[in-house]
Symmetry: C2
């Protein structure tokens, strides 16, 4: 049985990566999509594991071929989700998790409206600010920019099917898992596999 | 936060009661609806626990008052689900489980289209026949009648939102639980509680 495409998104700093890593550690019927990028591989990174690494020319050619479900240029580098890779994972019967920002999610929604769209939200505005500030890797101007961006990203909430509050990682992970299991029980999926006449 | 109404239904013999009992034993944020009936209380049965017991006149008066989400006459007795009882459970913030047959479920669907409709199916026609035959309480004619009815009831599958195969009680119970948790994360529910402007 074909897997489902699961988009996990939400504002900057909400903890998308943490939830996705927790899902991957716990459930082997899920696969995290490996993004394509033009940024250089760092020490220890392997092509096809952390990322699929491409040259600028290769990436732009793939964009032309509509090889990506979504892509974006961040500063000088491209990032994208390969349509072929996702297709391969789904054909293996695994659900494919995309951990992407709201812009990417909206691109996927246009191309795959049948995907499952989950929006992670922080328990409060204050807690999100704490998480963004607490990373300690950015200066004040950068923090203000990220906070403003997060507030803007929150407005996309209404374009998703499910909202999960990331108050505690384990509880939020279990809610996302429940959504994934429930979606496998949807009538449309049953009818696709079994037809209408079981008896 | 208001609870959800969860209709658990399926063909005769599929194991609705077993799944509902397993849910009740495991999760205290769920409540099983107590049916109203005109049948006499048996030894050990308490009014308001196994059933709400009514006289024929009382029950027919309640039907006139539209006090039931669904009701049916089975041989000489009425059975029904009290609208007020369900409302009370939901107001307490618990999800209210209705374990009902397909006819009852279709009545609830008309009155509460926002409820969650789950259809339990047997792993196969043969397995359902084994379960119906295996009860050992009915004669051959009765078994044939129940098998025919189950086949008829299976045709209602397409009127439900979710299909859960009851192959193993524990696995099926966990799927139903996942559906209940996922529905609590639905966007519409979030917007009802929080409005559109979190930030």
């Amino acid at each position: 049985m074909q897997g489902n495409l699961v988009v996990i998104s939400g504002p900057s700093g909400v903890g998308k990566g943490t939830i996705c890593r927790a899902l991957m550690e716990k459930y082997n019927d899920l696969a995290l999509s490996v993004s394509a990028t033009t940024r250089k591989a760092r020490a220890g990174e392997t092509d096809g594991k952390e990322y699929f690494f491409y040259s600028l020319e290769q990436f732009e050619e793939l964009i032309k071929q509509e090889a990506f479900l979504e892509w974006a240029k961040v500063f000088d580098n491209y990032y994208g989700t390969s349509r072929a890779y996702v297709k391969k994972v789904l054909a293996e019967g695994k659900d494919c998790i995309l951990e992407i920002d709201v812009q990417g999610a909206m691109q996927v929604k246009k191309k795959c409206p049948e995907a499952i769209f989950i929006f992670l939200v922080p328990p409060s505005k204050e807690e999100l600010a704490r998480r963004i500030t607490g990373r300690g890797t950015e200066n004040e101007a950068e923090i203000q920019k990220r906070l403003k961006m997060a507030a803007q990203e929150m407005t996309y909430l209404k374009d998703y099917q499910y909202v999960v509050v990331n108050d505690q990682v384990e509880a939020a992970t279990e809610k996302v898992r429940a959504i994934i299991l429930a979606e496998r029980c949807k009538l449309s999926r049953w009818l696709n596999c079994h037809g209408e006449d079981l008896f």
